[in-house]
Symmetry: C2
Subunit: 355 residues, 2 copies
Amino acid sequence: MSTHVVIIAGGAGTRFWPAGRRARPKQLLPVASQKTLLADTVDRCAGLAPPEQTYVVTNEVQREATVKECSTLPEGNILAEPHMRNTAAAIGLAAIEVVRRDPDAVMVVLPADHVIRPRERFVSIFSAAAERAAATDVLLTVGIEPTGPATGYGYIEAGDVAAEVAGHRAHTVKSFKEKPDAATAAGFLKAGGYFWNAGTFVWKASAILSAFEEHLPGHHAILQKIDAAGGGSPDPDLYATFENVPIDIGVMERAQNVEVIPADFEWDDAGSWLALSRLNEKDAQGNVVRGDHLGLDTHNCIVVSGEDHLIATIGLDDFVIVHTKDATLICPKGRAEEVRDMVARLKEHGRQDLT
Amino acid sequence: MSTHVVIIAGGAGTRFWPAGRRARPKQLLPVASQKTLLADTVDRCAGLAPPEQTYVVTNEVQREATVKECSTLPEGNILAEPHMRNTAAAIGLAAIEVVRRDPDAVMVVLPADHVIRPRERFVSIFSAAAERAAATDVLLTVGIEPTGPATGYGYIEAGDVAAEVAGHRAHTVKSFKEKPDAATAAGFLKAGGYFWNAGTFVWKASAILSAFEEHLPGHHAILQKIDAAGGGSPDPDLYATFENVPIDIGVMERAQNVEVIPADFEWDDAGSWLALSRLNEKDAQGNVVRGDHLGLDTHNCIVVSGEDHLIATIGLDDFVIVHTKDATLICPKGRAEEVRDMVARLKEHGRQDLT
């Protein structure tokens, strides 16, 4: 069995504005450590595959920064979409590249901007999934054991145990559930057997291409053309014809040969600035600080600043403050989600230069 | 009668940090309008004296910026102290310069960093004071009619009316009172006849020099030496020997020939960032904004930023946010006084470059 890792790095930066920008999305920011989320993800995957079998799918705008951030990977393993066409297209593009190199490869697909700890548990679970995938043609997903009735994630309803591999259980999948309301989420948690859909997949590259042929034939036809043109950088006009559809809806919810392996590792989708407080050590005042900060009576804040700029705060509790060269954000932690609205407002005002 | 105006521009910038710095004190900041407080003061005084009879006393550090800000005044009228030695020395330095030019001059002394409106009322009251000073050797102060039981100012207890001049009354002064506690301030307000000490004086230049001779003979001796050396830029070593004493304590509280003219104009000592809210028009959300700001659900804030930097706020009420090139301050309005503590802390931390 030969495992290839595909890291999907197509995110936007809107919820991490003003540090996050179109050219510097979430995965290119240091959120969970002093390294970027992408670099953390590449590090984490070293336990699954060697650098020459580790790929990153990004887009043309972010390509240069992505190559720089993945200095341990061969530059040819950074695949750049000419247009962003959602996860089905990105995964298909990677799959044809992987199959070209190794027709029997098992492919692990991971978002670049999630945090998974500890690394040993991550490697253990994904190795088991890879072992299961190598032995079958099933499409596996790794589902996160819920730690609460979250309404921000989709859920996977597990069925019977299909196999036990290296101490982990692969279940059949009864259904995929959209983001639930609070009562439904509470019901899932009470019933058990529901797992968060984290967008992580394990399958043979040939198996996912067969699934494209069956469930997304339009995608499959385009992928065939890209493959026939020799792989590598796809033609932008051709790429633009991909339907904009996520892999979950386009393939996973339609396929019958889907399994889920529950995972009990720490998982965080780093969905907003609040992730910095969850994922980093706090100082004695409960603050998480990146850069230069002097606080008087300042507690439980997130303060991010460049080295040459002091953020001075007096009497602040539970605030997010992010300084960049051309913009500074200040908001209470409870309103960090509204950073997206700020970015939308900036666009309305014709200030794309700041987004 | 020939009136000369002396503007005392020796303030610090600590309560307006980070915009206020050692080299850019409060009077060099735009607080009450788009102009600096000093420029506003120079404009206001044009109704009392012509430019060649208007002086600014500053110090060597702030000299260049002060000259630039007072482009309507002759550069020789900007007097720079080689050391800061409080108001008695600064006023003495100006007095010998004024007497050299006009032995009979009446001298109006004003802080550079206060706001007085409307200008017509200012001119009316100070012209009356100048008329009274020209006719006598009394030392006049203009006292502000209290609008509340403020504890942040000294008070002047007025006695009988000594004279009526051009519709204004000059009272004898019974006593000067230090900043009172709340109960005492309330008592002053109830009793009536107490006025805020705003550090504004009117006297013949020769009369204040006589008062120096009587009450601050040490100052008088140094001033004689400066005069003998030809005036202008005083010798730094000589200047350093001035006792550090304010004119109120050194002269006004000791002299018997003191009078106060009550003033009913709008007066604001612009003591902290909150002055921006008091003195400037607010937008529809109650914010006072200088520079680039985009607020979502942001009300009653003071936002100051450079033109090339956006301050983006979500869900803030009653905050002060001040961005400069190397530092940003964020604090609730209610804690704006603590900006001084922040500056002190920076000095403790060896970060004088930011003060």
